[in-house]
């Protein structure tokens, strides 16, 4: 009966990736790409939506190369993109620690860490250019942590056994983003980028089968305008906010991607959500978001819960050493507290499900620094993690130097996104997708410190070459703003806004968003079942119908109207949520952050089914979504059971 939720379509393939030795694929692709004469570049225009690590770096690099760039973000300044909140670090295969790291090892760890659901060619390229990213950022003045000798410091991160993570205290994302933002502002100053802050993309314009522009709303005046160009780049981030509570910034949304999906771009692996193990637990019903504590804390913090349920209500200090269960160290002795995110998250859920969780509602485990403080001294711990400890204290009112932190898993990052080929081009010619908005590099689970790497790799080093190849066939025929496709796209936007404002019902946008979030977390969160997902699809359909009859959006469209903005985004989340559940339903295996209860080993570990599911699920929009499969081949890293024991 579940078959009726989707249709099977033709298989698809990534035809842009070169074959042959993996080490030379990217170099060969770059060499085969067509070039654009510098004098012709200024005649070519590109729209970049989003100004985070991927979009900011792409806009800056394209503008440096001489293309005319117009850049959009919904925030008041490009510097505020949510990449800014990444704390821990960025991986690179520099082998500065001489601990056996290499491009091949970073490639290997990432393919394995992604549970063999990522593409080898893409991941190899990511590992290759990671080396250049660090050089580029240092040249821009990113103040990475340094050793006393003046060389760069490194640390290790979940899922790896080498120290390859570069970091800037607990603010790596902010520092890397400022680098990209400053490069971008320089180009804005030079007139090569035109920046539109407080503008939101609400529709994609396709003419003759090619992406040729976007429809945007000026969030201050409400004016709806169309921008046309030779190519469009989406760098609009992930969609974790479909869960309402997540570690994403409040404004993060799926609208740009979803509008493109509705216009024909395939959406790949939507159900692949990363649940991050180290978040501050929820404190009450007022809560609007969850806050992540950097995974780097697991380098020195030890995770435990009481062995006995009856001890859970006691203060941590009153529980004797022998009565504590350091469950990660016990179950996974070789990785211990540094197991990958999916493993650590599920282990926390399991001990809490057993009734051994700590804190309000029993939804928390301890992350304890007592050992580290006695071994390294309080000052050393403070130097490494001081700002994180302070942040924790601010939010919870507890001092983590005195009592252990409490953490619990939360929705963090989405590995799914618009389907792209090796050139980062979607199934719509001229529509390129970079960073978290695409699906390509992380598989079913993302290792720590690799999101920043992917965003910058795409924006600084990959897209500028592959997009140039596309632009080399341009300039494309000039489109008039009166073209029927352009007018139609703008009309769609205007009608949708009018509809949202006219319902004038009795429920707020946030109330729908919260309810959707509950459904998603309950049935499409860390653990999923066929029964639960089927139920969720029905619930979401009902909720969506209710939304379009009962939502209340005050004010008008011709003003700053934050509820109108939210309403449009939640309307899209209500559609995406259903697709996520359908994707989760069809994938009857456990992979990465996606744990299907029906598919587990006798000792409760995730069980993949490589023979059936070694593919990317790329969905085509329709009343009933159509599933296109892209087969994944593993020539260099052979699928094996991921074991961290």
């Amino acid at each position: 009966m579940t078959e009726s939720f989707w249709k099977d379509g033709d298989p698809i393939a990534d035809t842009a990736a070169p074959d042959g030795p993996i080490e030379t694929r990217w170099d060969r692709r770059k060499f085969s790409a067509k070039l654009v004469n510098p004098a012709n570049r200024r005649k070519l225009s590109v729209i970049v939506v989003g100004t985070g690590l991927a979009g900011g770096s792409a806009a800056a690099t394209l503008a440096e190369a001489g293309y005319k760039v117009r850049s959009y973000c919904y925030q008041d300044s490009p510097r505020r993109a949510h990449s800014i909140a990444a704390q821990g670090g960025i991986n690179a295969a520099k082998n500065y620690r001489n601990d056996g790291d290499s491009i091949h090892r970073l490639f290997y760890d990432t393919v394995k860490g992604g549970d063999f659901r990522a593409r080898e060619s893409n991941v190899y390229r990511l590992a290759q250019v990671s080396v250049n990213i660090i050089d580029q950022c240092v040249a821009q003045g990113v103040p990475f942590a340094r050793e006393y000798g003046g060389l760069l410091d490194n640390r290790s991160f979940g899922g790896t056994q080498v120290s390859r993570t570069f970091y800037a205290r607990g603010q790596t994302g902010q520092q890397l983003l400022l680098g990209a933002y400053q490069a971008m502002e320089r180009q804005i100053g030079l007139g090569n980028i035109e920046m539109f802050a407080r503008h939101e993309m609400l529709e994609l314009v396709i003419v003759d089968g090619k992406a040729r522009g976007i429809v945007v709303r000026d969030m201050v005046t409400g004016e709806i305008t169309t921008d046309l160009a030779d190519a469009v780049v989406l760098a609009s981030g992930g969609y974790g906010n479909v869960f309402f509570l997540s570690t994403n910034a409040k404004g993060c949304n799926v609208t740009a991607s979803w509008r493109a999906h509705r216009k024909g771009a395939l959406f790949a692996n939507p159900c692949y959500t990363q649940i991050h193990p180290t978040c501050i637990p929820e404190s009450g019903s007022h809560q609007s978001k969850l806050t992540l504590m950097s995974e780097s804390l697991r380098n020195d913090g030890r995770v435990w819960v009481p062995k006995r349920r009856e001890d859970c209500g006691k203060p941590a200090g009153d529980i004797a050493e022998g009565d504590r269960d350091y469950y990660l160290e016990r179950i996974y002795p070789s990785f211990g507290n540094l197991v990958p995110r999916d493993i650590a998250s599920r282990a926390a859920k399991n001990v809490c499900d057993e009734g051994r969780g700590v804190g309000p509602g029993g939804l928390g485990v301890y992350l304890d620094f007592a050992d580290a403080i006695s071994r390294l001294g309080r000052d050393a711990v403070e130097a490494k993690y001081g700002n994180l400890f302070e942040m924790y204290q601010r939010i919870t009112g507890e001092d983590p130097y005195e009592v252990p932190m409490r953490i619990y898993p939360a929705v963090h990052y989405t590995m799914g996104g618009l389907w792209v080929d090796y050139d980062l081009q979607s199934t719509i010619p001229g529509l390129f997708v970079v960073g978290e908005a695409n699906f390509s590099d992380h598989g079913a689970n993302r290792l720590g410190a690799s999101a920043l790497m992917q965003g910058l790799a795409d924006g600084y080093f990959v897209l500028p070459h592959t997009l140039a190849n596309y632009l080399a066939s341009g300039p494309y025929e000039k489109i008039s703003p009166d073209h029927e496709e352009v007018v139609a796209a703008r009309t769609q936007v205007e009608e949708r806004i009018q509809k949202l404002l006219s319902i004038n019902g009795d429920r707020t946008v946030d109330s729908f968003h919260r309810e959707l979030g509950h459904i998603m977390w309950e049935y499409c969160g860390m653990e999923r079942t066929e029964e639960g997902l089927t139920k969720a699809i029905g619930l979401i359909r009902g909720l969506r119908e209710e939304f379009w009859t009962r939502v209340k959006v005050p004010g008008t469209g011709e003003q700053l109207n934050q509820n109108l903005e939210k309403a449009g985004r939640v309307a899209d989340f209500l559609e995406l949520g259903e697709l996520m559940c359908i994707d989760a339903l069809h994938r009857a295996e456990s992979a990465g952050g996606h744990f299907r209860a029906e598919s587990q080993t006798p000792d409760g570990e995730a069980l993949r089914h490589d023979d059936e599911f070694s593919y990317v699920a790329a969905w085509e929009y329709g009343e009933t979504p159509t599933l296109h499969k892209e087969k994944l081949d593993f020539e260099y890293v052979h699928p094996s059971t991921r074991s961290y024991k």
Partner: protein, 247 residues
């Protein structure tokens, strides 16, 4: 806990604006200040009133988007805290709390508590960067940076560009913001070639945007959520004098 908030309401830049009083009942002490406003807004929407517009995004104290005057203090009563990281446990049951937007001529009010801080971006455009085109950088280890310099650069680089310094300054000066950027880049070897032109260009841009002059009041550093120290302004002034001598 129950509180009363008196909020600045201004429908658009041309509106004169006024303080409006609202009661907020039964708010959790664990809620953040912005979550308290969320709760109030939900009620306003259902009552058919216009909800209060305010800027916010990451709610983790790092994006720099939130910011309002709370009882006359930028980001409220807690030191080194953004508004999103300020929790209701720092207030008392029955408190009356005044909430207003940043007030500075260089930051015009857009609506209610939302202001336009685009002037900061334009100061960065004038020189707040290192010119390093993509793809040709030398190996990161080619230029060692002494750890104390790297650490000091990092401290300056923690500025989140929220604008509290400007809002707190009686002159509406953005010196702390500019000084943080000038110090961040000027402390690194990579930032030396443009050190002189950077400070001159950024200060010129700052004046053009209508920010006031710095008279060393120190209000800026008191409210800075990232604790950017006043000494950086001295450093900026030194850099500026040296750069002007070479002209």
């Amino acid at each position: 806990m129950d509180i009363q908030v008196r909020v600045w309401r201004q429908s658009d830049p041309s509106d004169k604006g006024r303080m409006v009083t609202y009661d907020v009942k039964d708010i959790s002490p664990d809620a953040s200040f912005l979550e308290m406003l969320d709760v109030l807004n939900e009620k306003l929407i259902l009552d058919g009133d216009d909800p209060i517009a305010f800027d916010h995004d990451c709610r983790e104290g790092i994006c720099g988007m939130c910011g309002m005057m709370i009882n006359g203090v930028a980001h409220g009563p807690e030191r080194a805290t953004t508004t999103c990281q300020l929790h209701m446990r720092h207030f008392n049951d029955g408190d009356v709390i005044d909430v207003e937007p940043w007030r500075a001529s260089a930051f015009p009010v857009v609506k209610d508590l939302v202001v336009n801080r685009g002037a900061f971006d334009r100061i960065i455009q004038a020189g707040g960067y290192i010119t390093a085109p993509t793809g040709t950088a030398p190996d990161a280890h080619a230029t060692p940076v002494p750890k104390p310099d790297a650490d000091a650069a990092f401290e300056a680089a923690t500025c989140i560009g929220c604008g509290a310094c400007v809002a707190a300054c009686p002159n509406g000066s953005s010196m702390l913001f500019t000084a943080a950027k000038v110090a961040h880049l000027g402390l690194l070897p990579q930032g030396q070639p443009e050190r002189d032109s950077r400070v001159v260009d950024m200060l010129e841009a700052q004046d053009e945007e209508g920010f006031g002059g710095c008279t060393n009041m120190g209000e800026c550093t008191t409210v800075c959520p990232k604790g950017i120290p006043l000494t950086l302004i001295g450093r900026l002034n030194n850099d500026y004098r040296k750069a002007m001598k070479k002209r």
